[in-house]
Amino acid sequence: MADKNPTPTQHKFFSLLPTQPSFPFMKYRRIAYMLSAALVLATVGWIVVKGPRYSVDFTGGTLLQIQTARALPADDVRATLDAAGFAGAEVQAAGTGAELLIRLPLQKVDPYPKIAAGLLQKFPDAKPELRREETVGPRIGGELRQKALWAVLFSLIGILIYVGLRYEFKFAVGAVIAIFHDVFAAFGILLFMDREISLTVVAALLTLAGYSVNDTIVVFDRIKERGKLLHKLSHEDVMNTAMNETLSRTIITSLTVFLATLALYIWGGEVINDFALCMLAGVIFGTYSSIYVASALALDIWNWLDNRKNAARKAKAA
């Protein structure tokens, strides 16, 4: 097999980036640290102060999705529910507006007939139709919380073990922190947008935890490869080279997932919307974090380890 063409061919490829970029990514890592820390802290703060809005999956209670012939003003619906004996019901317009999402504490008897009758009395032309009903009792709610927690815990441990086995310490630490960063950041976006945390959202968070490592692995593999070839360069330069070389694939792989998820977000319908939003946010943060969290931290740990080694050597020599 020939290693070189007899006459070197000039290849032309369509590309996002006109020439090989040489952007000094690592120079700006401290700014990125601050942004990331701010985002994660905001999320944690929100969780502590306001608390996430959990769906009936976790809190127990009833969710009703009712379609009506025309959009009904939420305030009037709330008043109607109050009158029907459902004080404290949460009412929200959904879908195209002619749909109501009603959340109730757990009821002894099926609340829908009474609600439908109440709506018909107040809005005779409403034509209510029950599209979805979810009721979760307290015991099952508790179990679902537990199971979600187990799923999160076990998958994170599984991924951590895999990354730990596959990479040296400095890279593994960076990748792991990047996973947490991505999950928290995506969770934060859902919180800030007042979305409900349901089982489906937990599934999305776990999927993006698995996916978050993808880009990181691409960059890491290149850093390892370049580290061997370019050992005269500083760690920072090795990393910048690797990142610039893999930049276009980092962007493109994320872009394809982003495009598919975007279609899901726009056209996938109400029920799956939170899931899609979570994945969208996760894909963006995952791309960013593979450079500015995973690799940047790996660089700082790498430098720190070297400094310690040098200091030890000097102490020995002296």
């Binding site: 999705q65 139709e129 009903e133 199971k147 599934a203 996916y211 792989t253 598919a260 998820t261 799956i272």
Partner: protein, 521 residues
Amino acid sequence: MPRNDLWKSLLVAGAVLLSLWTLWPSFQFYQLPREERISAPKDTPTAKLREKSIPLGLDLQGGMHLVLEVDRSKLPPEEAAGAVDRAIEVIRNRIDQFGVAEPIIQKQGDDRIVVQLPGLSDRERAKDLIGQTALLEFKLVRNQDEAAALFTRLDATLAAKARAGEIQVDTALVSRALSSLFLDFQAGGAFIGVADVPRATELLAAAGPDSVLSRDTQLLWGSEEGYAGRTGRWLYAVKREPEMTGGSVSNAIANPDDQNPGGWMVNMRLAGRGASDFARVTAANVNRQLAIVLDNTVRSAPRINERIPGGDARISGSFDAKDAKDLEIVLKAGALPAPVSIAEERSVGPSLGQDSIDAGFKSALIGTLFVIVFMIVYYQGAGLIAIAALILNILLLFAGLAGLGATLTLPGIAGVVLTIGMAVDANVLIFERIREELRNGKSVRTAIELGYDRAFRTILDANVTTLISAAFLFQFGTGPIKGFAVTLSLGLLANMFTAVFFTRMIFDLITHRRSLTRLSI
């Protein structure tokens, strides 16, 4: 064609044919109208087709998912053990008579029953039917004097509590708090208007009837009915100990009520000991009222005119045709050994299910188009190969679903969409690598070789972590989430075959035939 390439091509062709063959029943089945798909009875060609097709989750086809909890706390230990299994039998009988195709009824854990009814439209009726204990008892109604004395005692107790400030009662009525609500009082019961029923219930709770009543008497409500031009419910004073229970109903039939035009009743026949017990009870209590009590509600309280020897009884009392039919079903299927309560319900109406299917497939289609356009613009010829791999990937994914009999759910469709986005990632990594090698001056064939070798490990790593998440989601997730974990895992596994093996084969086929100096990539 080199021998190696030939084998590879045959393998791919075989996989495609096998997938198409596996998917063919699903393709035929989902062409049928929804009604036929859902209600086709067992052993028809449609039902056989259904067994071989990819099942849709309740969130897509519409239907009801119930988790019932069996309350065994009041059962003696020897009965508690088998109570859930017996309850499942009873519920299965009831559902069979209700007529739902392909119901799923399973035990879960120690005291739970999962009931899944696909395509169900009347969820309230189904819930009533499943949830009724259907405990049928025959209790003697106290005579008028006994009942009057009892209500007087209750009024006195309430008056004392009102004076002590424990309850609020209109001062003018303080000595007759309960009996002032009576519209009529005769035999062993009082008739209370429907608007006053909640107030009466509240007063009874406040009086603590158990403490006031003699130990062997209890108060039971009748079902709502019209009486003397008013709507209301009778409050009966009955003997606490039942004369007999309806455990031995051999048959029950709903009929129009001949004494109440427009109304319905249920005729039932008691068998064996039930019939002789009934004969004995009726003989001993001629001229008294016998309350027929279903789940602690008096359905009717007929006067016993004479001994009834044959075991024929009838239950009447404000039934419409549907109520009577449902009562027929529960009487025939027997009573639940213990009360059940609904611990979880997830119902999706058929219109939302269809909307979810439409939206899911629309977004999958648009997502695919996005990816196709992008790949072809960016990688041209090689992009086409990646698209072929993507389409093969989706084909294998669905064939895997059909082969495993795994259910497609709405999150499952989301898993398909994610797969579409992630499927080309592997090819992007390979193609970028090939481009790089070409830029470094390698020949086309060498560049392809190196591109695949170097990218493979990265692709494997990237997929493994996502598979780890999917595995735990499958382990701990509920039905729809399991569907997501399955499609995502199948998609990624198929991806290793299509994005690496299949595209490599195409490249080889192209480059082995002629020596290329340029690659459209």
